[in-house]
Symmetry: C2
Subunit: 318 residues, 2 copies
């Protein structure tokens, strides 16, 4: 049977490239360039909450790192490295090998390395902490939105939630469509290049993990502003577009797990935002306006405010 | 009922002092001084593995941070901040309040702050990642032990394991003695001041979390050396000293959860090591020698090698 230290050595220990010291001592050692601020984010994934037991281990490895990198993207930070703490019910080698494969494939794509962590027996739980760097005056914060700024989102929203509703049996999709929305749920793409391209352009940013309205609420609260969203403007896939309107609305506004960027910028920077999207190879869509006050309004196609506001995701209320 | 964001705001959000940006955005932002290397360590604590359900939440909060700070100490790093990812079966306020109290009491003693993290519903699990800084040439690594160096340990060993054996019903202790060894198990003191004082003095260091022999094995492997330990020289409490010899030996050599420092230094630096101990206010005891080769030998009081070698702790083999 595979022991703890063999497990680490076999699946998780790789030669350090960027880190001064990687896996295998009490701490990892990382040099940060002068004039840079270290950006840190930590996310924990629990089976049944953040992923279903049906997920392929490769996809789970990808997603665990992706949701953390998404936080760096939302900060405009350049990724440097990450730690992984892993609780496993047992040392199941095919599972661990798949997990490591998905994790390192994304790490290599982002040009970062695993610098340390922990493994233990316990109910399946993945905790990743990522580190990045950003010049002190260029970090994208939640607090910089001002009345009159445009509200933008990257990519398309709602497909991850639609996949969840299929798993829950609330709706069904043909096999090829199900696989596409399932990829949105299981293989989210952290918008790192967009976050970097939005430095000096966006005035605030957040990644959409708890649902568009919930995450917009965080920006509003920290910026001391309100916002108006145009439901029709929200970018969605043809698959979601074909669903009943109530389901579409729920997936778009309160979906969660989108891992797209929600950001604001002055109207004078519209061309710069579009250029950032082109540079990063991801669609950016203008979908609302920052208002004075603290109201969050969603307008339907006819310009009428929606009565009900689906809430963002709260782990102790869901 | 307490929601996720209220839970964070009420118990875990404090004003940032050292961090450029603390809890409440996508990332925390931390400045690292020029000429410093960032030291990072991550540990996960699972109920039934790393702590018993009988532990007071204050002590659990203390221990979760202490075991991470202990890794910084073993690296000779000065702590800067930490993240906390927390999975909770439910939002149990007295538990969370106690946990936060124990956590922040130790954080304040170490002059660091919580800079971010995550909370989620799930089987009880605490994952802490700590950050510290150390000048590039002064980090205490596991790889610097050389034949002829002395082997030292800080504090006393084995009491935490003795407490575990009482909980397991293998032995019993009078109430006041039980409380003392239980404190060793539940309130370990990270040896941060000693780690700093040993910069430039110790040639290698590790914190004893998996048991003395297991952790000595990590140093031996990474330094490419062997070692001889003198069982009689290992520092122990009067309570442990009064136990049967086989139990004493097991607690000292394979106890785990000691969170003392095991380190090496040349014989020419003995006075400097003792001075580091005095500065840090912790006893340091010379208990062995680094050898050429790769053998790990424990000598009894008569200088005879012990036949059996209890193993260190392995989470997938225990």
């Amino acid at each position: 049977m595979l022991g703890e230290f063999e497990l680490i050595a076999k699946y998780f220990q790789r030669p350090a490239r960027r880190a001064a010291l990687g896996v295998g001592d009490d701490c990892a050692l990382l040099d940060v360039a002068p004039g840079q601020r270290l950006a840190i984010s930590s996310d924990m994934l629990v089976e049944g909450r953040h992923f279903l037991s049906t997920v392929a281990p490769e996809r789970l490895g990808h997603k665990a790192l992706a949701v953390n990198l998404s936080d760096l993207a939302a900060c405009g930070a350049e990724p440097l490295g990450f730690t992984l703490a892993l609780a496993l019910p047992r040392a199941d080698e095919p599972f661990i090998a798949g997990l490591a494969q998905g994790l390192f494939a994304l790490a290599e794509a982002a040009d970062i390395e695993l610098v340390g962590g922990d493994t233990t027996a316990g109910p399946l739980n993945l905790c990743i902490t990522v580190f990045g760097q950003v010049p002190p005056d260029q970090a994208l914060l939640r607090s910089g939105a001002r009345p009159g700024h445009d509200v933008w989102v990257s990519g398309q929203l709602g497909d991850a939630r639609l996949a969840l509703e299929v798993f829950r049996g609330r709706c069904s999709l043909p096999g090829s469509e199900f696989e596409r929305v399932r990829q949105a749920m299981e293989l989210p793409q952290p918008r790192l290049a967009l976050g970097l391209a939005l430095r000096g352009v966006a005035t605030s940013a957040i990644d959409i993990s708890d649902g568009l309205l919930g995450d917009l609420g965080h920006v509003m609260q920290q910026s001391g502003v309100g916002a108006t969203l145009h439901l029709d403007a929200l970018p969605r896939s043809a698959i979601l577009q074909a669903q009943p309107e109530a389901l579409q609305r729920e997936c778009l506004l309160a979906g969660g797990d989108d891992y797209e960027l929600l950001f604001t910028a002055p109207p004078s920077r519209r061309e710069a935002v579009l250029e950032a999207g082109r540079q990063a190879g991801v669609a950016v869509t203008r979908c609302g306006t920052v208002d004075a006050g603290d109201a969050r309004v969603v307008l339907d196609a006819a310009g009428r405010p929606l009565p009900a506001r689906p809430r963002g995701f709260d782990h102790f209320r869901a």
